[in-house]
């Protein structure tokens, strides 16, 4: 009995991971897109548009979570930018919500008061930050100190 239930649960839990991370501005311009699942280009474009459509209509009284296709989007707005993470419906909402904030704090520290333009011009650095903190759709490193130390080390190689 136990084992059977276990089996069912495992099936449900299978493939828990981040599907994609998107940073978009209010106008829907993508400032970062990191995909952890195979999508073709048309599909990516469609996802970007749909995410923008569902997220921007929501206000501060709404939750930071939206059901999205068979997944859910956990998002947070910082000034004009939406940081969105798409995960499995069974995944832990608050953990990802704070993972976004942790990521933003790192960006802020690294770029000294980050603004949208930093993300545009330093796109290749932003990808490095993402890869330090999220890899293969999983949270890789959560310590801001460790991430920043590594980023500064890499910067010194430039």
């Amino acid at each position: 009995m136990r084992l059977k239930r276990l089996g069912e649960l495992c099936k449900r839990r299978e493939g828990l991971e981040i599907r994609f991370i998107l940073i978009q501005n209010r106008a829907g311009k993508t400032r970062l897109a990191k995909w952890y699942m195979q999508f073709d280009d048309d599909e990516k474009q469609k996802l970007i548009e749909e995410v923008h459509a569902v997220v921007t209509v929501r206000d501060a009284k709404h939750t930071n979570f939206v059901e999205f296709r068979n997944f859910k989007i956990i998002y947070r707005r910082y000034a004009g930018l939406y940081f969105c993470i798409c995960v499995d419906v069974n995944d832990n909402n608050l953990a990802y919500l704070e993972a976004i904030h942790n990521f933003v704090e790192v960006l802020n520290e690294y770029f000294h008061n980050v603004c949208e333009l930093d993300l545009v011009f330093n796109f290749y650095k932003v990808y490095t930050v993402v890869d330090e903190m999220f890899l293969a759709g999983e949270i890789r490193e959560t310590s801001q100190t460790k991430v920043l130390k590594q980023l500064l080390m890499l910067q010194s190689l430039e």
């Binding site: 839990r13 979570f65 909402n93 704070e98 890899l135 959560t142």
Partner: protein, 950 residues
């Protein structure tokens, strides 16, 4: 803003990015004209192309610069079709920046250009072997981003070595763990398990919490697929978790986030533990319980910070702990505490928390330990339904009400849902309608309440009442004679409303057609008034509804001879007889003719009252499952064990009649199939069975959803069915239906239907009995079918089955055919099980026990104790035992709650007497099944088959 733009512009000027960056700035700050952008980009692309093609070899720096520009252009949303080679070249540079841009280009823009992959893999291989942690990191991140099969082939063997090597740097270990995880997800077959697995588990003890964080993800995924191999991770995870939750908020330094120690790692560890049942070792189990208690206690402590980050991080851990408590479902104390905690959150000012509390409570509601505790929050949840501003929160409230509903609160919850429905968002109306319909049926003590509820549903949200819902109310009314009169009266009254929904007309038409006679005695609802009322709606309705009403009229001709002339006049009118719609016209012509030529006897036979529908899984439930995804709904069903659904019913579609005219059968008439034109000579409804095909041709969810083609479940459905029919298999192109009769020499009629409009060629069904089965079963197909099956046609075949001796496996029907140029090959297990050869034997109590004692040899008895998978309903259980083939012996067992049965299995060689006894334990939701037969293998097999049914 302007100064910012300028400074960026100046900063990059030296690097030659100026033009492009100016553009990007423009698109940020001004609404730059699109065409100008494209022009500028094309110019830049031409420039880069010429640089790459130029005679002069580019140095690494320039190459990086141009590849980076290309990437930038791509990210602005333009297509890039060159530069891949240059990017690959950058990979072999020794400078970090050049290598990084090269890898980034590959990660973002890679396509499966096989030649490039080889080159890329080569560069990755060199970097992995470089022992330079930065380069190794870049290479691993690239594999983790692309994760293609080619990469898995090249590196799946290498990465575990990097991961567990003693001298690997921590940051490389982190990347290697997740890189391996990615490859395992894409190509599990290519990641060999080996010595490294045990060392990976020990990474849970690593000093570096970043390594533990990455390793936990890897271990969780591996443990899901190989629970045995990773079992040791449980105790390690528990002790790690315990160290984290009991640590002071400063102990973990870098990993403390807003005063919460390592929240993400805690969440991951709790998730890993959800791959396993509660730990068996009492010490580990005790430690885990302590952890969970500490987490629950912390939720009650005053917050260490007012920042939302603090409470979010803390609650992330709390919610995951509650998930684990629910997963274990074994500690009543923890479950109730979790429920109380969530109850507090229900009234929290943070919308996020209210949402999550509703969601989490939904699963708690299905645990027997916490169901009652959840119910105490009903008022809060109802209030949420009325006051929440976010529709997704209200949606969760609906889900929770649905989950906490039981017999005690059903009237209140259904009433609240109905009143919410009046103002509910359009996006969730249909789902609420389905939920109300299910609850009303499931918890109906009084079926008049059920009928009222469904009619209310139609009144409030008629447009959202799907076919499944109104089919279902008709099925129930037809199956329960105690409610028929009330239903007729109620629909009659509802139809008086000047504007009523078409769905009400359909239900009304059907019910009055069947049971109008029950209220015809009242002069206020005399036959003529009933008819006039229905006919006053006729011209407002769509064609399918009009078709249904015409069938009602002909039923009236039979029920009320006094209105026959009136109805004949209506049928004879030009608007019917010459209707542009062929279906309506045909009905009018044939019904009119039938009413004129047929004698009252024939009329009475053809238009006889509908026979009861076979009980089966509610089609509404199937629809809800389809809508919501199976997991949410089944969980509820499995654990509450109150489902009023009979799994035995098999998947027959609702109507039991072939003749569309003999009854206003909703499925056949309204789906516009045209597969069964009214045929006055059709068999009377009670002949049953043959009508399957008509319905199965539709793609209606009610028929399709509950069937997993060829699955074991489907097979199990047939075990407790004696004679009858059912759908064996179907897919987009074809389906296969059978009727059977089995007794010693079993005969099975198999119908093959071609659902497409294209011919099937070389259509060859063959019956396959495995070597093991061969000596025990004789099965043969009586005559081959025509190898060509026209589009839309159906063919029949007879299979004879003879049982020589007892058997366990089932024969397989293999069907091969060509369809539209492709070869199709389908196999389906025929539901032929040993119990099909049962003959029931009635005997008195004394005889039973005498024989029971005779079969007391330990080899003759097989016993199984198992948990109930379905609601423990006495009537359903009786039906299953009878359906299984044995006689059900009443008043034999001294304990009236027990069931005993007896029968003889007839095989060609011998006859085997079988006795069975089923003892339910309602409290524990368990059964004990004992079988005694003269042959061990028979006891064994019957016990297996029957155990799976409860």
């Amino acid at each position: 803003m302007r100064s910012c733009v300028l400074s960026v512009f100046l900063f990059h000027r030296g690097e030659g990015f100026s033009g492009l960056f100016l553009l990007a700035v423009a698109s940020v700050t001004l609404n730059y004209v699109k065409e100008a952008e494209i022009k500028r980009i094309n110019k830049e692309l031409a420039n880069i192309r010429s640089k790459f093609k130029g005679d002069k070899a580019l140095d690494g720096y320039s190459k990086k610069k141009y590849v980076c520009k290309l990437l930038f252009i791509f990210l602005l949303g333009h297509d890039i079709d060159f530069g891949h080679m240059e990017a690959v070249n950058l990979l072999s540079s020794n400078r970090y920046t050049e290598k990084q841009i090269g890898y980034l280009f590959i990660s973002v823009l890679v396509n499966s250009n096989s030649e490039l992959i080889r080159l890329i893999n080569n560069a990755i291989k060199n970097d992995l072997a470089s022992r330079n942690p930065t380069f190794m990191g870049l290479a691993l991140h690239c594999i983790a981003s692309v994760g293609s099969r080619e990469m898995a082939e090249a590196f799946a063997g290498e990465i575990p070595k990097v991961l567990v090597a003693g001298d690997t740097m921590d940051s490389v270990k982190q990347s290697a763990a997740l890189c391996l995880l990615r490859l395992y997800r894409t190509s599990p077959d290519l990641v060999p398990m080996g010595d490294w697995t045990s060392r990976v588990v020990h990474l849970l003890n690593d000093q570096h919490l970043g390594v533990v964080t990455a390793a936990t993800s890897l271990i969780t995924t591996l443990a899901q697929k190989n629970p045995e191999e990773f079992k040791t991770s449980v105790s390690l995870a528990v002790s790690r978790l315990s160290r984290i939750v009991t640590s002071a908020s400063t102990d973990l330094q870098d990993y403390t986030y807003y005063f919460v120690p390592a929240p993400w790692l805690s969440v991951k560890l709790l998730r890993l533990l959800q791959c396993y049942p509660p730990p068996e070792d009492p010490a580990v189990r005790g430690r885990l319980t302590e952890c969970l208690e500490t987490i629950l206690n912390k939720a009650q402590e005053p917050p260490k910070s007012k920042k939302v980050q603090h409470s979010n991080a803390k609650n992330a851990v709390l919610f995951e702990a509650i998930s684990l408590i629910i997963h274990h479902d074994s500690e009543p104390n923890l479950l109730v505490r979790a429920c109380n905690q969530l109850g507090q959150f229900l009234q929290h000012r943070e919308t996020n928390l209210r949402y999550l509390a509703l969601e989490s409570m939904c699963t708690l509601a299905s645990s027997e330990f916490s169901h009652e505790a959840v119910k105490t929050h009903i008022e809060t949840v109802i209030n949420a339904l009325k006051t929440e501003r976010d529709v997704s929160v209200r949606q969760r409230a609906v889900d929770l009400l649905y989950a906490m509903c039981d017999r005690s609160n059903a009237p209140q919850i259904v009433a609240e849902m109905l009143s919410y429905l009046e103002t509910a968002d359009y996006s969730i109306r249909e789902e609420i309608v389905l939920k109300v319909a299910i609850l009303a049926e499931k918890y109906a003590v009084d079926y008049t309440w059920y009928v009222d509820t469904i009619l209310n549903l139609i009144r409030i949200a008629g447009d959202y009442v799907s076919e499944e819902v109104w089919y279902r109310v008709i099925q129930i009314v037809i199956n329960r004679d105690d409610v028929q009169g009330y239903a007729a009266k109620t629909v009659f009254e509802a139809l008086q409303a000047p504007a009523c929904h078409e769905n009400l007309v359909k239900v009304g038409g059907y019910i009055l057609g069947e049971f109008g006679n029950l209220i015809a005695g009242d002069p206020r609802s005399s036959p003529l008034i009933q008819f006039n009322l229905l006919h006053s709606k006729f011209h407002l309705c769509s064609v399918p509804t009009r078709a249904l009403l015409l069938s009602t009229y002909i039923k009236f001709v039979n029920l009320f001879p006094e209105v026959k002339p009136t109805i004949q006049d209506v049928l004879r009118s030009d608007s019917q007889l010459r209707n542009a719609d062929v279906e309506l016209q045909q009905r009018a012509v044939e019904y009119l003719r039938l009413s004129t030529v047929a004698s009252t006897d024939i009329l009475a036979t053809v238009l006889e009252e509908m026979p009861p529908f076979p009980e089966r899984e509610s089609s509404i439930l199937a629809k809800l499952k389809k809508k919501k995804g199976p997991s949410t709904v089944t969980d509820l069903e499995d654990t509450k064990r109150e489902r009023s659904v009979d799994v035995n019913g098999g998947p027959e579609p609702a109507p039991a009649s072939t003749s569309a005219m003999s009854t206003p059968s909703p499925s056949a008439d309204l789906l516009g199939l045209g597969a069964a034109p009214p045929a006055p000579a059709g068999p009377p409804p009670s002949s049953g069975g043959g009508g399957l095909l008509v319905d199965v041709f539709s793609d209606s969810a009610s028929v399709v959803a509950p069937l997993a083609p060829g699955s074991e479940d489907n097979f199990a459905r047939f075990v407790c069915k004696n004679n009858g029919g059912g759908l064996l298999f179907f897919n987009r192109e074809m389906m296969c239906v059978k009727k059977w009769f089995l007794f010693l020499l079993g005969r099975m009629f198999i119908f093959y239907g071609n659902k497409t409009s294209t011919q099937f060629l070389n259509f060859t069904p063959t019956l396959i009995c495995s070597d093991e089965l061969q000596p025990n079963i004789l099965g043969f197909i009586t005559k081959p079918v025509d190898p060509t099956v026209e589009g839309g046609a159906q063919v029949q075949q007879v299979v004879n089955i003879e049982c020589v001796s007892d058997f366990t496996e089932a024969p397989v029907l293999n069907i091969q055919f060509r369809y539209g140029g492709t070869f199709q090959n389908v196999s389906v297990q025929l539901p032929i099980t040993l119990n099909k050869f049962f003959q029931p034997t009635e005997m008195a109590s004394q005889d039973f026990f005498q024989r029971w004692k005779q079969l007391s040899n330990p080899q003759q008895e097989v016993q199984n104790i198992f948990k109930a998978k379905h609601p423990m309903d006495t009537e359903v259980t009786k039906a299953k035992i009878i359906g299984f083939g044995s006689a059900l012996l009443e008043e034999v067992d001294p304990n009236p709650a027990n069931f005993v049965g007896a029968g003889i299995i007839h095989t060609k060689t011998t006859q085997i007497g079988c006795l069975l006894r089923l003892e339910p334990n309602l409290q524990a939701q368990m059964y004990r099944l004992t079988l005694r037969t003269s042959k061990e293998a028979v006891s064994q097999r019957l016990c297996e088959l029957l155990s799976a049914q409860f």
